[in-house]
Symmetry: C2
Subunit: 188 residues, 2 copies
């Protein structure tokens, strides 16, 4: 099993009920269910358009407690869109990593371990939708069609969703150990 | 996304505290956390030797609520071990499917949908260990070394572990729709 070390550059919370855009905080307690006060918090969660196999609003297991993006992926998206930068807040990300260029390609079951023992488990890729693209568009009004272009530029770069596997407290600046799952010899 | 239909041949519960071996029941209510009264029930669960990244006994998210095996996989194991049959109870399985020969190769994130709307989500392969092999050995005392041979024969055939994504009631004989996850266009 491959292990990668990355740096937790920023922690963000979506605690404004009017938007999915996040704001930075310096540390946070992760509980089973995610971040208390964040709009995605919960052991369970109402299904939405991402789970068309269930009637919309069905209470299902919440695999989308936290979203993680990497600086490297955001830089590639910015380059493709010809804009100066893409902030993780605009995508509603909760964690920003530096040194994890392959983040979005991580298989489900990969783990993120923090210095105090906190553990997250990758629950899959976060597919790009137009909502963050609309926020990006607001920041670059002179660029046409950024909302639609984001979906394409964000393909396999928009980060992942995670669930809390082991609760704890994480801080900006933490070194994060990523245990990379693989198909040949999957982690349990 | 590929969809496969299989048949739920048997439901089993591990409700004897002295053994992981399961016994057949005709229907069961699946809650968040799995099957009440089964030894693997729980939204969270103490970590064991399968999660060496955490101190043993740490309370972690329970991805091993239910185990599923397929008749096709069990037949291949029996053939490799030169025994007449391998019963799913001996492996501590909770569900036995017929018509899912590729069951153990399913990616995490694959889904199992039942007639009443119950949903399970695949949380990974169940790696073979020697404990079920010891039970198999007890049933075939004339065959030497079955415990160790089972680990090899069970490779990529020992089934998967699941979590309950949407609660409900399932019955032996149910037709199960399997939504097969894939790496190119993963389900959310």
């Amino acid at each position: 099993m491959k292990t990668v070390e990355a740096k937790l550059k920023a922690i963000m919370i979506a605690d404004n009920p009017e938007t999915f855009v996040t704001r930075r905080i310096t540390e946070v307690e992760l509980e089973f269910g995610g971040i208390q006060g964040d709009r995605h918090f919960g052991i369970t969660f109402p299904s939405d358009s991402r789970q068309p196999m269930y009637p919309r609003g069905t209470e299902i297991l919440n695999r989308r407690q936290l979203t993680i993006v990497s600086e490297e992926d955001l830089a590639l998206i910015a380059k493709d869109l010809s804009v100066a930068q893409i902030l993780p807040e605009w995508l509603g990300a909760n964690l920003l990593l530096e040194g994890a260029p392959e983040l979005t390609k991580l298989l489900m079951g990969s783990r993120f371990l923090f210095p105090d023992g906190t553990g997250l488990i990758c629950m899959g890729e976060n597919k790009p939708c137009t909502l963050p693209g609309e926020i990006i568009q607001q920041h670059y009004p002179e660029h046409p069609n950024l909302a639609a272009a984001f979906v394409k530029a964000g393909y396999k770069r928009r980060g992942i969703v995670c669930a809390v596997e082991r609760p704890g407290t994480i801080q900006a600046g933490d070194v994060v150990r990523i245990l990379v799952n693989n198909l040949e010899n999957p982690m349990q």
